[in-house]
Symmetry: C2
Subunit: 173 residues, 2 copies
């Protein structure tokens, strides 16, 4: 909990942590130049090609950038996660949510770059996303989970089919 608490308390929109020494930033006296930071942002100003590259990396099928741009504009929340090393910045994670701004939010397109998986960064991204939605007084946070990530979301406190409520999809023929 200590790591995430520090991560989120630094700033409302951007939080940083040294990746190598998460519990005590720069405890080994590292200089700023060689420090690696993980930065979260809720800014919508994303390079669509960089986002496409991230989605390509996890094997998602490509979507028209015009529609992706529209979807970002009309998402209630857009969260990006970056690795910063000196002046370099790389998009390594993403999530967004639609919402009625009052009761419900639905999280879509959660992605962590394969090279950055299994380090707790997906958990950090989701905790940041939940925190942001909670700060907007959204109490019903929902998502549709692929089978292989159901357990991941369950560990984050998401409940499967609560009281028998079932996720359903309608697709055009």
């Amino acid at each position: 909990m200590g790591f995430f608490k520090n991560l989120f308390s630094n700033s409302d929109t951007v939080a940083t942590a040294s990746q190598s020494t998460p519990h005590n930033k720069l405890q080994n006296g590292g200089s700023v130049a060689d420090e690696t930071r993980i930065v979260f942002s809720t800014s919508r100003e994303l390079d669509l090609y960089e986002l496409e590259e991230l989605c390509d990396a996890v094997g998602w099928s490509r979507r028209p950038l015009r529609k992706v741009k529209k979807a970002l504009q009309h998402s209630f929340l857009v969260v990006s996660m970056w690795e910063e090393r000196g002046a370099k910045r790389k998009l390594i994670g993403f999530a967004r949510a639609t919402s009625d701004h009052a009761f419900n939010a639905t999280i879509w397109d959660v992605v962590i770059h394969p090279k950055y998986q299994s380090r707790g960064l997906g958990k950090a991204l989701m905790k940041y996303t939940i925190k942001k939605l909670r700060s907007e007084d959204i109490s019903n946070i929902t998502l549709f989970a692929d089978p292989h990530v159901v357990e991941f979301y369950r560990r984050l406190g998401f409940i499967l089919d609560p009281e028998g409520i079932k996720g359903m999809f309608w697709y055009p023929d």
Copy 2:
């Protein structure tokens, strides 16, 4: 199919049908004064108290009207269904959807007044809602169904847990 086709082809925002003679309006020579019409609308100008009354009728717990108003304002689509008899108009059905305006929509708060259930009006309301979302080029229509309405949505073409995708909920402690 004939009934719904007629219902939806009349107008883009409002469709009407005689309830007593759905397949051939006024075939028995009824006058306009005693005609009962079912009208659909996507206007957001709803009387919040009338909506609350409808939700009360199906036993939903009350929600602050201030938040309901905000939710309607920020829903992508708000569908209301009315019974019109002469100059009288009664709200008998409701549904709304959040969306990213590009890929996904999630339908919430589908309600039909108990006195008007079991007449195919829920089906008509959902078909109207799906048609509206499809006309906006939304291809992924989702919802969270209570156990007793899963079969209702399945008959409308909604698929339960497609490819093992599971609906999940997060609530505050």
